[in-house]
């Protein structure tokens, strides 16, 4: 053992020896470095890793009661993994979940983070493995790796790797969906041919890195294996729990809990509304049944039995020995509606002559409008596997058209000034409504009224006029909100004050609201009425119902405007957006196609490719209402044409010899199918496409129509109270009769016209002023003390023989302040080089660093002193804000800088640096555009360049006509802005708003 003194002696002796030659010095340095690193490696690592109590065994850290259950009411792709969490004393930071299609190989699939101080806040931890979620993407590891801290027999691995040798065999264990960038699928695949039973199959092959990602979904009725590991805050992975099997099952659809039915008497119309289920993947039909009063009991019995059957099915999944319950009862309800499932959740049915008729579905159910109390309705969801679920029984509510909301008059148009991925849907006239109020004085007679308004692109609200009346109809005051700022003040008669002896809680203030708009004008008789009444709870006046042109809008926020859209390539509408009742417009996103989704089931290990099918939707045939497909390779199309022609010939020959009618029908169907393909490929469009022999050019041709059709939509709206009290609009047609709309990519943003004009004006002024400066006109620049003192400050450092510190701010090269700081650095460095004074430039941004080095180097060359340039005088410290300031302060103190320049963007660290500069008695000159830091600079520095002075510094120092012209242009522009400000303020004060309305809203 060597004691401390002996150690020191030996070390100093060793160091002394090393001093003697250079190589020895390097060795010493390395030795110190190694000692330092070893110390830091061993200490924190051991502190971090040894925090667990030795007395506790690892087994105590295994999660208990791990269960894997099927997720109910889903499409058979969901499993719920759950377990009992460990206590907070175990300091668990994360539970890691592993899954595999066999118990020998389980991969990390996700984790549940936990606060180690509080533990997991619940009795069980749940992890849901459902739907399409990440299988492999660019962030997955390249090779299969065992999970950390696992022995060689452990079945646990990290994430599924990007290795086809591993992924390929796993494709059969999951339903895999490849997300392929559009261009990769259109133009960059490799055709792969495979012969199976004399049948040639064609695939599009893509390398793994060509996929954006691979998503996975569990396959119904297939077993999967799960385990969970608890990880403590020192990243100790505890033993995994016993591996548990789980099997996802296809279940009956989710129960619909909010089903409403309404009968609109005067229109003889039934209306229904329901909430959509969460999982809609496997749903096939929406059905509605009418249940007569007398059949209610029978329906309840049927429903009870149905629920038992559903439960029995679930129980039998877990225990096949349980006896199957068979249906004995029939639904006593009469089917009145059956439609393919869509994301629409309202439907209306016309009652025609005391019956509900749907000839297409063979429905004819009697309905006596005089006995509506006898009718009840049930909503049924039906999935593709025959599973069904029923809603609550909805009693028929009776109403009339006048109690329904008014039909919204809506318009659909391209959203302007965008890249063409939004349509704008807007409706009705602007609405202004009161929101709140608050008293301004002790007497409670002065009131601030808060209001809000919603409008759309047709109307730009300029003025809002409020006429305010008391309860006797006398006008209290009128307010003209010529610049709507959402509040105004009024003075009320004393009788409204809650402290007044005349106070009556039922007393109301009545508001009549009118408005003036730009764009389309609202009619003069368009008046909104709303009252306010004192509310004891809020202790102020609160708004009551809003009346819009006489129409009472009760709880205006309860109404919803729902926009539905139908793509050109489909026959069903789908949900687009839902807006609250006060809203007047909504944006509908219409995305460009950027990715193609393809099922991945095959792979080619030799070629290192994943294989997907080659087909693609080419266009939608409106006549047959079908999507017509083609292949991305022309050779595949030609192969199919040749093959089908031959198949038709063979089938026709066989048809002539066959006598069995069934076989004949089958052959005829086969001929029709093949002939359909040939006919399609004979149409004009495909003939043109197939005449292009180059696959890439052919796909370019096909993609144009395909993508165009995918982005064309029809629109319609529903205005609803959420309880089947709704009105529907027709499909929107524009003035030219078009009913399909596509957003347009705009070439100019009209909102920015004022910006463009200002920029051009500024550009012109710069050109004009530079021209004047070049002609020798005298351009006065006011003296800036900070810049005038630069020479003196550098001279002081020279005299004192101490260095200069220049700090070009904390932001990156993209910040104008940094650029301005660097231009000043050039001048300062040149002067410093001339005087042979050392300049130190610590930088925070590693991109700024080489630029600053170049500038300082250039300055030394310019001054004729290249020998004095030291590259390491411009150096990077760190990107961390406070570590950086500590570094700069350290440099200042050690080097005892005589002059400090701070030129650029600064944050909270500014004061720390300048106070340190102060403490060493340095002359300090700062320049910054950071408004919050300028006061600190002014206080602690000798000279400060405020805001734009920083930008003007280079012109001031260089006295170059180009620079000065630029500076003068800024001054003239400022003068113009000042004129606008003064005139605008004066006009606005006089309630003349045309000038401020010229400028766009912020």
């Amino acid at each position: 053992m060597i004691n401390q003194k002996e150690g020191k002696r030996r070390l100093s002796a060793f160091s002394g020896l090393m001093w003697k030659n250079n190589s020895a010095q390097i060795k010493t340095t390395l030795m110190y470095l190694i000692i330092f690193c070893l110390f830091f490696y061993i200490a924190p690592a051991s502190w971090a890793k040894d925090s667990k109590s030795k007395s506790e065994t690892a087994a105590q850290f295994v999660v208990q009661d791990l269960r894997v259950d099927d997720i109910p009411n889903d499409d058979g792709s969901g499993l719920q993994v759950s377990w009992k969490p460990l206590g907070p004393e175990k300091r668990i930071i994360e539970y890691r979940v592993y899954r595999g299609a066999n118990p020998e190989n389980l991969y990390f699939v996700g984790s549940v983070p936990v606060n180690p101080q509080t533990g997991f806040p619940g009795e069980r931890v749940n992890y849901y493995d459902n739907g399409y979620n990440m299988f492999v993407d660019i962030s997955s590891p390249a090779k299969q790796r065992k999970e950390a801290q696992q022995d060689k027999d452990s079945p646990l691995y990290r994430n599924i790797p990007r290795d086809l040798n591993i992924i390929g065999p796993m494709l059969k264990d999951y339903s895999i969906l490849g997300v392929i960038p559009k261009d990769a699928f259109y133009y960059k695949t490799k055709m792969v041919e495979r012969k199976i039973d004399n049948e040639t199959n064609f695939y599009a092959g893509l390398r793994l890195d060509q996929f954006q990602s691979l998503l996975k979904k569990l396959i119904p009725n297939k077993p999967y294996y799960y385990t969970v590991i608890a990880v403590n805050e020192s990243r100790v992975y505890y033993p995994y729990a016993d591996i548990v099997e789980g099997i996802p099952r296809i279940n009956d659809p989710e129960l619909i809990r909010n089903f409403h039915s309404v009968y609109v008497e005067d229109k003889d119309q039934l209306q229904f509304e329901w909430t959509l289920p969460l999982n809609t993947d496997l749903l096939r039909n929406n059905n509605i049944f009418l249940v007569h009063d007398k059949d209610l009991n029978a329906y309840h019995e049927f429903n009870d039995e149905h629920n038992l059957i559903v439960q029995n099915r679930i129980d039998r999944f877990n225990d096949p020995d349980i006896e199957e319950i068979k249906a004995t009862k029939k639904n006593p309800g009469s089917l009145i509606l059956s439609t393919p499932f869509t994301t629409e959740n309202t439907v209306s049915l016309k009652v025609e002559g005391n019956s509900i008729v749907d000839e297409k579905n063979g429905i004819n159910v009697s309905f006596d409008s005089d006995k509506v109390d006898n009718y009840h309705f049930v909503f049924q969801l039906e999935d593709w596997y025959g599973g069904t679920s029923y809603s609550n029984i909805a009693k028929l509510m009776v109403t009339s058209s006048e109690h329904l909301p008014t039909v919204p008059n809506f318009t659909v148009a391209d959203k302007p000034d965008d890249q063409g991925d939004y349509m704008c849907v807007f409706w009705e006239k602007p609405v202004v409504f009161l929101t709140n109020s608050s008293f301004l004085n002790k007497d409670k007679t002065k009131l601030t009224i808060n209001y809000d308004f919603e409008t759309n692109r047709n109307y730009k609200v300029r003025n809002i006029y409020f006429d305010i009346y008391d309860d006797e109809g006398a006008l209290i005051t009128s307010v003209n909100e010529f610049h709507p700022d959402l509040l105004f003040n009024i003075t009320l008669p004393k009788k409204y004050s809650p402290d007044s002896p005349e106070y009556d809680i039922n007393r109301k203030i009545a508001f009549e609201i009118r408005m003036k708009t730009a764009g389309e004008e609202v009619p003069a008789d368009y008046v909104l009425k709303q009252e306010m009444q004192y509310d004891e709870d809020y202790r102020t006046f609160q708004p009551l119902e809003l009346y819009m042109n006489g129409e009472k809008i009760e709880k205006v926020q309860d109404y919803s405007y729902v926009v539905y859209k139908k793509p050109y390539t489909s026959e069903t509408f789908r949900f687009s957006t839902r807006s609250a009742g006060v809203m007047r417009q909504a944006d509908d996103i219409v995305r460009y196609e950027t990715t193609v989704y393809k099922g991945v089931g095959e792979f080619d290990l030799d070629k290192n490719l994943l294989l997907v099918d080659t087909s693609i939707n080419a266009y939608y045939d409106k006549e047959t209402k079908t999507t017509v497909n083609t292949d991305i390779y022309l050779s595949v199309v030609e192969h199919k044409i040749e093959k089908y022609t031959k198949e038709i010939k063979d089938a026709e020959a066989k048809l002539a010899t066959v006598e069995d009618e069934n076989e004949k029908a089958q052959l005829q169907a086969q001929i029709n199918r093949y002939q359909g393909y040939l006919d399609t490929n004979n149409n004009e469009y495909f003939q043109e496409a197939n005449s292009i022999t180059n696959n890439k050019k052919r796909m370019k041709f096909l993609s144009k129509r395909r993508e165009d059709e995918l982005r064309h939509f029809q629109y319609r709206m529903v205005k609803t109270d959420g309880h089947a009290g709704f009105v529907e609009t027709d499909i929107f047609h524009d003035e030219e009769g078009n009913d399909y709309f596509i957003p347009i990519s705009n070439w100019f943003n009209k909102e920015r016209i004022p910006t463009l004009i200002a920029s051009l004006l500024f550009g012109f002024l710069v050109w004009f002023m530079i021209r004047r400066a070049k002609k020798g006109h005298d351009m006065y620049i006011r003296p800036i003390a900070g810049l005038q003192e630069i020479d003196n400050a550098i001279g002081r450092a020279t005299e004192m023989g101490r260095p200069i510190l220049f700090q070009p701010g904390l932001s990156g090269i993209g910040d104008v302040a940094t650029l301005a700081g660097l231009s000043i650095l050039g001048k300062v460095a040149t002067k410093a080089a001339e005087y042979d004074t050392k300049i130190i430039v610590p930088v925070r941004d590693y991109i700024v660093m080489p630029i600053a080095q170049e500038i300082v180097k250039d300055a030394h060359y310019e001054a004729g002193r290249p020998d004095t340039y030291d590259k390491s005088s411009v150096f990077f410290i760190t990107t961390d804000q406070f570590a950086f300031v500590a570094g700069v302060n350290g440099v200042m103190l050690r080097e005892k800088c005589a002059t400090c320049f701070y030129m650029g963007m600064y944050y909270a660290e500014a004061l720390l640096m300048t106070e340190t500069g102060n403490s060493i008695g340095a002359v300090q000159i700062a320049g910054s555009d950071a408004v919050t830091q300028i006061p600190f600079f002014i206080t602690t520095c000798d000279y400060t360049l405020i805001g734009e002075e920083l930008y003007g510094a280079s012109a001031y120092l260089a006295r170059d006509p180009m620079m000065i012209g630029n500076l003068k242009a800024v001054d003239v522009t400022k003068a113009i802005i000042l004129v606008f400000l003064i005139v605008g303020t004066a006009l606005s004060t006089a309630k003349i708003t045309f000038l401020i309305n010229i400028f766009p809203d912020k």
Partner: protein, 207 residues
Amino acid sequence: MKRQIPLALVIILCFLFVGHTFIPHKISDNFYQWWLSWVRTMTSFAVVLGVMSLFTVHWGKISRRMPNWQYSIVTLGALVFTSASGFIWGTQQGTPYMWLFKNVQMPMSSTMFSLLAFYIASAAYKAFRARSPEATVLLVSAIIVMIAQVPIGMAISKWIPEISNWILNVPNLAAKRGVALGVGLGGTAVSLKIMLGIERTYLGSGD
């Protein structure tokens, strides 16, 4: 050429990005996004420059036994150790890297930040000495604003919070907006100087 090519690139790209401000078209946006992805990629590679600079500067100090060269060993050691711990054990919660971050980096940063309170007091003392009419106005304004932030302000007079609000919202805001206006225009002018090739300091010598 080492100067002309970067200058040409800067000028062309400046005009393209100014164009992008006014052109919302998909082609323009695609180009902009494509460019941003390059910027992100290049920026992350540029960290090598910073690390190289750190090594050069501190290795020079160590090898030349410059004053306080021992600190450079600490700096380089910390750099090597911190990055290695991140590479070896990862950066998740519970790793040595996070331990260092929580127990070394955070406290030291907080210490530096907390020093600010004392420096602000010192700066305030310097600023508020009533040596001139302007400084007196500053002193009075500061007292009102500070008192209005605490309950005692309201207790003294209900006008104090209102005056404080007025000071903050009228003269203070007007001055801030004035500076912001100048900064905006000055920034535009610098950008224009770069676009037109008048300002070239950022390019260095190119030799």
